[in-house]
């Protein structure tokens, strides 16, 4: 559907304590995954608001991944529980207005799940590639103006 040279860019917000550590473990274990993600380290998945996800899309992300600790493992006790509610509603809303469900993804990855992290990145990258470049909610300057 798109030319072969197109590669999506995916913004991944990872919590420091579990998912970022899981991404590190994927590295330590040399699990290979596609080079399309750009990781932004945040303290907790509970730090990520829908605003930031929309901002990533607006800025041009073809895909977004938000990943935190598994329920019960949150370093900050309950951050991921609040996040889970925010994301559940937000994801549905995005779908409702016609954003493809695979554009914005949420996962739980623990510090020991290096392989799982690599698998998720492979999976998300493949899904976003399938969708093609993001077109909705992507801000563009009107160059003619």
């Amino acid at each position: 559907m798109t030319d072969k040279t197109w590669e999506p860019k995916i913004i991944a917000f990872l919590c420091t304590w579990c998912s970022y550590a899981g991404a590190d473990l994927a590295g330590v274990s040399r699990f290979q995954y596609p080079p399309n993600i750009r990781i932004v380290k945040v303290p907790c998945s509970g730090r990520i608001s829908p605003n930031l996800i929309l901002n990533a899309l607006r800025t041009g992300a073809d895909g977004v991944l938000v990943s935190g600790c598994h329920p019960g493992d949150c370093h900050y006790i309950s951050g991921n529980y609040f996040a889970r509610r925010r994301f559940a509603l937000f994801e549905n809303l995005l779908e409702f207005i016609g954003i493809e469900p695979d554009r914005v993804n949420f996962s739980w990855v623990s510090a020991s799940e290096g392989e799982q992290f690599a698998e998720i990145v492979k999976d998300v990258t493949a899904r976003v590639k399938e969708l093609g470049p993001a077109t909705h909610l992507v801000k563009k300057f009107n160059e003619a103006a």
Binding site: T59, G60, K139, K140, F141, N142, A145
Partner: protein, 340 residues
């Protein structure tokens, strides 16, 4: 002034031809026709003649102050040619035609021209836009153009005015810009027809009584009138009135940055918004709703006329109809006149 006569198919054929040389905009009957850049207006593919009365949903000002309007661009990259420099965009000269404009809206361009006589972008847009008006044979109950000095047959600001007669249409060519849309082979109207038109214009001439009376009033008594509280009590502080108003012309400027490039853009602002007058110190001289509501009306009905002459209102009635809480400028005018 040239006046041409058309039957309906003739008129439609004439209008259709315009779109061969320039985009022709017209009041979109519903959102699906929306052209996107100018909400409420569609880009004409098929000719749709306006109904007999009432202004378009959106006002004309989007063609003079489009939002966004780029004032300057720059690059944030050190090594780019325009790195860290502000560059003005090339002037936009492409012609456009707006069709189906009511005389009240046409007049709003003239009123806006008073404060913006030297505003480059406004003038640039004015230069490139041809306004084709459509007179109002049956004004709506919420129309009050005459009370503000306008007329349903007024030609102020328009380049062409089309009037519907029983079974034909008359097109008055008002300006040179308008004349450029005229072409060979059009049929001149007869003097009898022109006489009817002039009679209608005479009989429906506007006055500015209320405006003149208000000009004579003492500002401080108006300022402290007690009814302001009542009016503002129901106000929501939304900008519907100002954004629909053809004569409101306030704007704000913001820098937007994307991928290392910056744009300085101009977009509509509203004196109804608390942020409108918020100072960087945190002080807000119009921090209260009543102050903002009062300002809006005082500006339109008193301060603007004091400075430029006419009221800053063309009586289109959009704010009356669309105000979510039915604040009615006609009542406010009466309230002001009643102040002792």
């Amino acid at each position: 002034m040239k006046v041409y006569k058309f039957d309906k198919p003739g008129l439609e054929a004439w209008i259709k031809k315009w779109s061969e040389t320039a985009p022709v905009f017209y009041p979109a009957p519903d959102a699906s026709e929306n052209c996107g850049i100018h909400p409420g207006w569609g880009k004409m593919t098929e000719v749709v003649l306006p109904q007999s009365s009432g202004p378009a949903k959106s006002s004309l000002k989007t063609f003079y102050f489009p939002q966004p309007e780029v004032l300057a661009t720059s690059s944030l990259k050190k090594n780019d040619d325009d790195g860290l420099l502000l560059t003005e965009p090339a002037p936009v000269v492409e012609k456009q035609v707006v069709f189906g404009v009511r005389p009240c809206d046409g007049r709003s361009v003239e009123l806006n021209n008073l404060p913006y006589a030297e505003e480059k972008l406004f003038q640039q847009n004015r230069e490139r836009t041809v306004l084709v008006g459509f007179s109002c044979s049956e004004p709506k109950s919420t129309c009050f153009c005459q009370a503000t000095g306008g007329s349903p047959y007024g030609i102020d600001g328009l380049d062409i005015l089309i009037s519907r007669q029983d079974d034909h249409f008359l097109a008055e060519i008002i300006t040179d810009k308008g004349a450029k849309l005229a072409e060979n082979g059009l049929i001149d109207a007869g003097s009898e027809e022109i006489a009817i038109l002039e009679k209608l214009r005479r009989e429906n001439a506007g006055n500015n009584d209320k405006g003149e009376k208000l000009k004579e009033k003492d500002l401080s008594s108006l300022y402290n009138a007690s009814f302001w509280n009542r009016v503002s009590d129901s106000c929501l502080n939304c900008g519907a009135c100002t954004f629909l108003c053809p004569t409101c012309y306030c704007f704000d400027i913001q820098d937007e940055v994307l991928h290392g490039r910056g744009q300085r853009i101009r977009y509509w602002d509203s004196c109804m918004f608390p942020l409108y007058t918020l100072h960087t110190t945190g002080h807000n001289p119009r921090g209260l709703k009543v102050q903002r509501v009062r300002n809006r009306f005082m500006h339109k009905l008193k301060n603007f006329p004091d400075r430029f002459g006419p009221l800053s209102c063309v009586g289109c009635g959009r704010c009356v109809v669309e105000c979510p809480v039915n604040i009615d400028i006609r009542e406010v005018m009466d309230d002001l006149l009643a102040v002792e």
